[in-house]
């Protein structure tokens, strides 16, 4: 301990240490930990009128969680959200894997730069506007319906906004790039000689991917999946813009609770969503056998 302080003092000086302590201290205590604890505290208390706050009724209870676990509709929406987010994640992964591999190991020179630019531009356009583009395409008199009618495939416009399809489609579009970049980053560090050697020894492409590329890309795949799942399960924009009443998302349930001024119930639902994302992340870590350190490189 003493060594630690001595080294720290020698390397960074008093001002340096004070700077780090203050910035990181404020961040961790007042922005990361306390707000989370307070949200959790809210979730454990019943909703009370202002004058009863702090009174005898203001005690910790699991009632808000019970409301969730006994509400069939909300449970169904919760599982639907998980299921749909998994679909978004899987679709994004299968679309992005070849692109990432191509960018990292096949394309060369100026082409890489151009393709990268092609990925960065949609990535930086506002999420809402990207979803808006799909709102236009999938509208009743939208581009897709017009095209299908023009081609004579359908006679009357289809309501694409029914059900979850539109939300899933829009989300995949909006979050796909959170999958490309992490996988690309790890694949870039793969030694190309390994691929050539395997090829020379007669390995087929699927085998090379299964035995060499995928194991190497594991951390990237884990990051991409965790991010995409978290974004999909945690977004309120996509279901708001692309959904219909039949495709209510769990985040919208949380939002409704807050709009009805039941902050306590909202906090409980938010805690459930938080737990879901934490569990998913640890499952990913376990599944791909990577550490948290590698997850956020």
């Amino acid at each position: 301990m003493r060594d630690f302080w001595n080294t720290a003092l020698r390397d960074l000086g008093k001002i340096g240490i004070a700077y780090i302590s203050v910035t990181v201290g404020v961040w961790v205590v007042f922005m990361i930990i306390i707000p989370q604890l307070i949200m959790f505290d809210y979730s454990l208390r019943p909703m009370l009128p202002l004058r009863e706050l702090g009174g005898p009724k203001d005690v910790w209870t699991l009632k808000n969680y019970l409301v969730f676990f006994t509400n069939r509709l909300h449970m169904a929406i919760f599982f639907k959200t998980i299921w749909s987010s998994l679909i978004v994640t899987l679709v994004a992964l299968s679309i992005c894997y070849p692109i990432a591999f191509y960018l990292a190991k096949v394309a060369r020179g100026a082409k890489v730069g151009l393709l990268m630019l092609g990925l960065i531009i949609p990535y930086w356009i506002n999420e809402l506007l990207r979803l808006f583009a799909w709102q236009i395409i999938l509208a009743d008199m939208g581009i897709l319906n017009q095209l299908l009618i023009f081609l004579g495939i359908i006679a009357d416009p289809i309501n694409f906004r029914m059900g979850n399809g539109a939300v899933i489609l829009g989300m995949t579009y909006a979050y796909i790039l959170f999958m490309v970049f992490p996988i690309y980053n790890v694949m870039e560090s793969l030694d190309k000689n390994q691929l050539d050697a395997a090829r020379d020894l007669g390995a087929s492409w699927p085998r090379i991917h299964y035995k060499i590329v995928m194991p190497h890309a594991k951390p990237g795949i884990a990051v991409g999946c965790t991010m995409t799942f978290m974004l999909a399960a945690g977004t309120v924009a996509a279901p708001q813009l692309l959904g219909s009443p039949s495709s209510f998302w769990f985040t919208q349930v949380i939002n409704t609770n807050f709009e009805c001024a039941n902050w306590n119930l909202g906090a409980a639902y938010a805690t459930v969503l938080m737990l879901l994302c934490v569990v998913f992340m640890f499952m990913m870590l376990k599944l791909f056998k990577v550490g948290l350190k590698e997850l956020t490189q």
């Binding site: 630690f4 000086g13 404020v26 707000p35 949200m39 579009y173 350190k293």
Partner: protein, 280 residues
């Protein structure tokens, strides 16, 4: 040989499809911004017009939301970059046992759904600090996770720092302040600039965290969200076109800068002797 050319064709086709998927929606959106049709669709085409841009410019709500977005984004930059620097210095310059744990805590906001950060920030400030949801809570909520991004960006450069430079400076009698301003900071400068840009853009684009934290105020994404949920006018397409143009320029500038840096890093200019840097 023949199978190889088929393979190449397949890859080419895949790339074309992928980029069509990425760009066609944006292209449709752009074309519609110039269609004199009240409904935001390509057909029926009622002639070329710039009126939707005019309509957008007349919307006072849009201007006040834009102004708020700038206030929030600049504040987020002012908060997140110093915090990110602190975190990066802590994790790269100090050796301690709980390092991995601390790292986990500091990156956790990135892995938390945005709405959770918004909700928890809102509840904390509203009930314990008596500050209701508004621009301030939006700034803090966004900074919580944007600081993590800044930290990761600064860390990736700080890890490549050659510590002997600092040691040489200390040996030559430099103070901590001199070393920081003349050696550490100039080395980290490119990462600090990119983290400023990143923080600004992340903040400017943020919807999920802001929605729950901001109360009744509006930033640009909140304004867009409200508009898109109620009455859709091609004025939103005009706004999208402006966004797309700015993004294209921004992305090109960013890519250009990144390349130039990569070339610089590849050439490996030998570090100048510390004494020379200090002007001794």
């Amino acid at each position: 040989m023949k199978s190889k050319s088929i393979f190449k064709f397949m890859i080419g086709l895949y790339l074309v499809l992928f980029f069509a998927y990425m760009f066609l929606p944006l292209i449709f959106m752009t074309i519609i911004a110039f269609n004199a049709n009240d409904i935001p669709q390509i057909t029926p085409w009622k002639g070329f017009t710039l009126m939707w841009f005019g309509e957008l410019a007349k919307d006072d709500q849009m201007w006040s939301a834009l102004w708020n977005s700038f206030i929030v984004a600049f504040s987020v930059v002012a908060i997140s970059v110093p915090i990110g620097l602190g975190g990066a210095l802590l994790l790269t310059r100090l050796q301690f046992k709980a390092r991995n744990f601390v790292y986990g805590v500091l990156v956790s906001p990135i892995l938390t759904p945005g709405i959770i950060l918004g909700i928890s920030t809102f509840l904390f400030w509203d009930s314990y600090m008596d500050i209701p949801g508004g621009l301030w809570t939006a700034i803090i909520g966004q900074s919580t996770f944007i600081s993590s991004y800044c930290m990761l960006l600064i860390m990736s450069r700080a890890q490549r720092f050659d510590l002997t430079q600092e040691e040489a400076a200390f040996d030559l009698g430099a103070t901590h302040r001199q070393v920081f301003w003349k050696i550490t900071l100039p080395f980290l400068k490119p990462a600090l600039i990119s983290s400023m840009a990143l923080a600004f853009m992340q903040s400017f684009d943020n919807y999920n965290t802001t929605l729950f934290a901001i109360g009744v105020e509006q930033t640009l994404p909140i304004y867009i969200g409200t508009k898109l949920r109620s009455f859709i006018s091609p004025a939103m397409n005009a706004l999208a076109v402006i966004f797309i143009i700015l993004t294209v320029f921004g992305a090109i500038a960013y890519e250009y800068r990144r390349r130039r840096e990569m070339i610089k890093a590849a050439v490996k200019i030998p570090p100048e002797p510390a004494a020379q840097v200090l002007g001794m």
